[in-house]
């Protein structure tokens, strides 16, 4: 009806992806709050210094590897290689579990130095709480990785497959998951260097 030309809008990012990025922004704010609390509190003294256990180096490498395997998996499914995709999602899941286990042993090592959660000096408490909240975010990602892994075994008939293939958003789920997974990886990298610097 109208002939007025309206300025064409640029193609938009998918709303769910955009929503995820916003959610990541709020997670960043939470950790920004916690780590700035760390800095402020440390500056007030009464703070036992400690050396970060070497195990955290191992866990850092493991979580970076898991990002790599998920990238390989995402590329595989986009090329139609569903077997490689399944293996890579499974491997990412295992590496994620490995990260959580290594973090736990890292905490045990730290505790063996006498840096514990309780007590008057919160230098250890900050590390336990901040890295603990991070592991909770990793566990949430693991839950979704498990769901995606088991979804690869679901039998679909040819017609269903055809419909699925035609959907423009058929890779949306894995794209969202890998964005989140890379995010928790990078978040740990930040926390790791933060703890190294301020230990």
């Amino acid at each position: 009806m109208s002939t007025i030309s309206v300025k064409k809008r640029t193609p938009n990012i998918h709303p769910k992806k955009f929503g995820l990025w916003l959610g990541l922004g709020s997670i960043i704010m939470m950790f920004a709050g916690l780590t700035s609390a760390f800095i402020v509190r440390q500056a007030q003294g009464n703070w036992t210094p400690y050396k970060l256990p070497d195990l955290f180096w191992a866990s850092t490498i493991v979580i970076l590897l898991s990002s790599l395997t998920l990238i390989v998996g995402e590329r595989a499914i986009k090329k139609g290689d569903s077997l490689l995709y399944r293996r890579m999602v499974g491997l990412t899941f295992l590496l994620g579990i490995g990260f959580a286990v290594l973090q736990y042993y890292g905490w045990l090592a730290l505790a063996s130095f006498g840096i514990i959660l309780q007590g008057n000096d919160p230098s250890g408490a900050f590390l336990y709480v901040i890295s603990g909240i991070h592991v909770v975010h990793v566990l949430a990602g693991l839950l979704f990785l498990a769901v995606f892994y088991f979804k690869t075994f679901k039998k679909t008939d040819a017609a269903e497959q055809l419909i699925n293939d035609m959907k423009p958003e058929k890779f949306l789920g894995i794209e969202l998951l890998s964005t989140y997974w890379h995010f928790v990886g990078v978040l740990w990298l930040y926390l790791f260097f933060f703890f190294q610097y301020y230990q």
């Binding site: 002939t3 929503g19 916003l22 939470m30 402020v40 959660l117």
Partner: protein, 617 residues
Amino acid sequence: MAVTDIKLHHEIVVHGHDDHHDEHHHKESFISKYIFSQDHKMIAKQFLITGIFWSFLGVLMSVLFRLQLAWPGETFPIMETLLGKWAEGGILTPSGYYSLVTIHGTVMVFFVLTAGLSGTFSNLLIPLQCGARDMASPFLNMLSYWFFFSAGLVMFISLFIETGPFGGGWTAYPPLSALPQADPGSGAGMTYWILSMSLFIISSLLGGLNYITTVLNMRTKGMTMMRLPLTIWAFFFTAILGVLSFPVLLSSMILLLFDRGMGTSFYLSDIYIAGAPLTNVAGEVLQGGSPILYQHLFWFLGHPEVYIIILPAMGMVSEILATNSKKPIFGYKAMVLSILAITVLAFLVWAHHMFISGLNPFVASIFVLFTLLIAVPSAIKVFNWIGTIWRGNINFTPAMLFAIGFVSLFISGGLTGIFLGNSALDITLHDTYFVTAHFHIVMGLAGGFGLLAGVYHWFPKLFNGRMMNNTLGYVHFWVTFVGSYCIFWPMHYQGMTGVPRRYYSLEYFQTFDIYGDLKVFITVAAIIVFFAQFLFVINFFYSAVKGKKMTSLNPWNSTTLEWTSPIEPGHGNWVGPIPHVHRWAYDYGKDGHEFIPQTVSDDQMRAQGLKVTESGH
């Protein structure tokens, strides 16, 4: 003449779509339609009605503690009926008083003025005014309401537990909030409080993510950002504030939980009770913590929170003032930029709540500067509102009266903010009734007036085209407006003589007797205003069921998109295609036309032989 033509044209288009109305409807069960609804309009109603419930409870609490303040020691049988052992013999106990004050603050700030205000109207108006069928994620939107509902449920349960609800103030400063032995309510009551707040934070985050995504991604064709009504701009920046500040409150709550249950001492240090040092769970003397750290984390949310409350009210007031004065909003771009400026500055002023906490005076001076800077965008907005209604053809609907009342309150309360923003003056004024008066007028009342203005204005869009009763609305407005000033204006004088807020009783301070029965006057005004709200709630529920149906789609002759949807919009808002937008939201009085809807293009106008100049927007 010209006006009626546009209206005719406008309704014919919509009526054409109306014919197909029934085909598009699919049956919904009672549960999916009224309870676990994913329709943004139903979710808005759920937020509003839950908010009204909490506002009555919250205001009732304030009336009860005002009774104690006005007549300390007097017996009120009603108190014992309502509060049981917290008012044995009809006299409010100190613990009961502190719990009432605390829960009043928490409930009004979070449940009424955050969820009830931005939850209701962001949900209702974002899809309708942007031209979207629903939110980006209706499912998350539904979750957002049910998290809010659960937060309320947990808070409600905490009112009935044996040790009573939390009583350490709505800011929940440690050590009162961290040590169970500080107050009866600091035990289980505080645990419920933290749980309730955590659920509320999740609710706000889910809602905020949805609002931002919807505004940026789901606008109809032709709806550029600079054509958006100011309501949407306000909701948009409110959501950004919430998404960035609520997570920090969550981290402060997590650290608080560890201090309460796990023996850490993030916030606890050097506490002596009856001469004996306090020990933690591990049996050590508490020394390592910093209660100031909690204040930093809390106010990093707490200050943006007041803008989370006031921005939606500002947006709705802008819209209502322009619509009912039939004039374009004065300085649209300046309005958008001032909302942006307020949003940015909101994050840089939190320590002005902490001037006398031992903050470094040089740090304080920076916060004074930023705090006073906020006066600039706020003043721009006030001048623009006045410029908008200046010499306008004003239609004094109840909504318009509440919007004008908002501007009045915002000016009165904003001016006292300039006093409080000075760290030197704050030494005398901190924690006095001056502060109570300031934030109740500028945030509580102004936010409340924005909420009421919105309800009166958009009621037909909430309840299938039914209108609220105007006469009751006028009585409600005048009693509330005059009464509210009577409550809070005298508090400034009390505060300037140093009357401290939050005290259970002032009868032993002879110096505060100079104003005689002022505190009785305040309490009487509070009781009158409380009962006046029943006029509103009767009007609200009666009109929702039996109210007069509006006869045209657009009762206020407004330009925005929500008035092009059917009188009884189904899930999906528009039958047939979503209307396109050809102009900004404020073409009132342009070229002699009373209003030109956003959906009408210049070409359509010319085709009807109507004079129109090229629109600049």
